[in-house]
Amino acid sequence: MAASVETMPDAPKTMRDIHAPVHASVAGVTRIFPAVGEQPPVHALGPLDLDLVKGEFFAVVGPSGCGKSTLLEVLAGLSAPTEGSVTFEGQPVSGQVPDGVGVVFQEDASFPWLTVWDNVAFGLRRAGFDASEITRRVDYAVGFMGLADFAQAYPAQLSGGMRQRVCIARTLVLQPRLILLDEPFGALDQQTRLLMGDELLRLWRETGATVLLITHALDEAAMLSDRVGAMSARPGRFIELVETGWPRERDSRIVSEDSFGRLTGHLWSLLREESMKASGHQMGRQK
């Protein structure tokens, strides 16, 4: 069963279609990493339930080490849950990334030996698309992400933000119906993150995809998503699912609205104690 849903008081009416079908779900999922040498097993996640509604933008926030990325990997099929089940479009996810799921990672995942254009075309070539379709999709994605002038450049010639755009474009060209983003803007400065957030919202509106964003930045989660899942310290569970209530047509200018500040404050009030717990864990380990 999914966690309880809270709505922010006096938040604008959400454009999220609550009657839309469930697109992906995790039910009773736990992830326990087995013991390694003298290290005991690590209970990283769950038990946890979540239903992602088709076309929604969902963000996950939580303290460091609470299992956010583990949740993403389980949902993507990159890691198997210890218990529980994961489904995407009604089909069980097990051992392989399902067709229609795209992942953007926190780390730079561009291939340094390929040009920007070839990086973006990589997945399409693997999937066996014909040359004209590859050219059409890659040209569009490269232009959409503002990389047209750098199509023949190598990743090392680009800034961190541009390299992350290459990775987003590489995922975008495959036209995934579920996009999983693991702290994609983690290494970027605040201004670039806001602008990248705008691009991400534009991309989301244009593709109609369901998006799950993992982030440690509360303002980023509050600005971008329809719902925010606040997770507890390890083992990560949802403490609360918060409806932001933002209209679908939105951009980074909403950070100046009063309700944005209240929303971010509410998220922090949920996570403060959990973050202190997580820090305590880390300090304990250091001893």
Binding site: A76, L78, Q96, V97, D99, V101, G102, V103, F105, E107, D108, A109, F111, P112, W113, F122, G123, R126, A127, Y154, A156, Q157
Partner: protein, 251 residues
């Protein structure tokens, strides 16, 4: 050419020039060494007479065979060993001490098994080169970022596709070191084997010239080997630099 390049060229030309002066002035006796200019002339004559082509073809053919076997087998073995961590831990000390083994002691065994043919020579060249390739393949694979392998899984790539399209190019700078060593070791293994195992090839011809006090032929052949290996290594070096420059942000 860069300033460093000019300095490098000056060192090489200066050394050759010094050797030329020492030989021409009699400080180094003609029975010990002939002047470099004479070596070049003799090499030219040897080439023009047609006597150089058969041993060169044979030796370079054997080197190429040993090199290709070392690189292909070394890369595949490296991939397999990397995929089996426990086996790798068991193998690591053996790989580390591999070059302490004097391979030439095995040549009688190889002759008994394979006969007096090119095969024992190619095998010794291969034995010299292969472990350098395995070690550098392991080194490169250790440094393939995990996130790139996740991209492979995201694209539902098979193990073979991941190896060819992600692991191989990602580990390329380290593999290149293995390739350069495999070239050098293949030359060493093949030419040294020809000295003692063969009735033909450049190694055999150098040994034959040496035994017959034919300094002109001996030095001409040595010059040929030296220039060939240097040219090959320079070509690989330039190729490697271009690849690294692209990856590190230059054009």
């Amino acid at each position: 050419m860069s300033k460093v390049g000019w300095i490098r060229l000056a060192i090489v030309l200066g050394s050759v020039g010094l050797l030329e002066i020492l030989c021409q002035s009699g400080v180094i006796r003609p029975l010990t060494m002939i002047p470099p200019s004479r070596m070049a002339v003799e090499l030219w004559k040897l080439g023009a007479s047609g006597k150089l082509a058969p041993p060169v073809t044979k030796t370079l053919g054997n080197v190429a065979a040993a090199f290709i076997l070392s690189v292909v087998f070394g890369f595949i073995a490296g991939l397999l060993i990397h995929a089996l961590p426990r086996f790798r831990r068991a193998l690591d000390p053996l790989l580390a001490s591999y070059y302490a083994v004097p391979f030439f002691v095995f040549y009688p065994v190889l002759i008994v098994i394979f006969g007096m043919s090119d095969l024992p020579i190619i095998i010794i060249g291969f034995l010299f080169g292969v472990v350098a390739m395995i070690i550098n393949t392991l080194n490169g694979l250790d440094r393939v970022p995990t996130v790139l392998l996740k991209v492979g899984r995201m694209n539902r790539m098979s193990a073979l596709q991941t190896a060819a399209l992600i692991k191989l190019p990602s580990a390329a700078p380290y593999l290149f070191t293995g390739v350069k060593l495999a070239v050098a070791y293949s030359f060493i293994g093949v030419i040294a084997s020809e000295f003692i195992l063969s009735g033909s090839g450049i190694g055999y011809d150098i040994a034959y010239a040496y035994n017959n006090f034919d300094n002109r032929t001996m030095y001409a052949l040595m010059l040929f080997i030296l220039t060939t290996v240097t040219a090959l290594n320079m070509a690989l070096y330039i190729w490697e630099q271009r690849m690294l420059k692209r990856r590190q942000g230059g054009r």
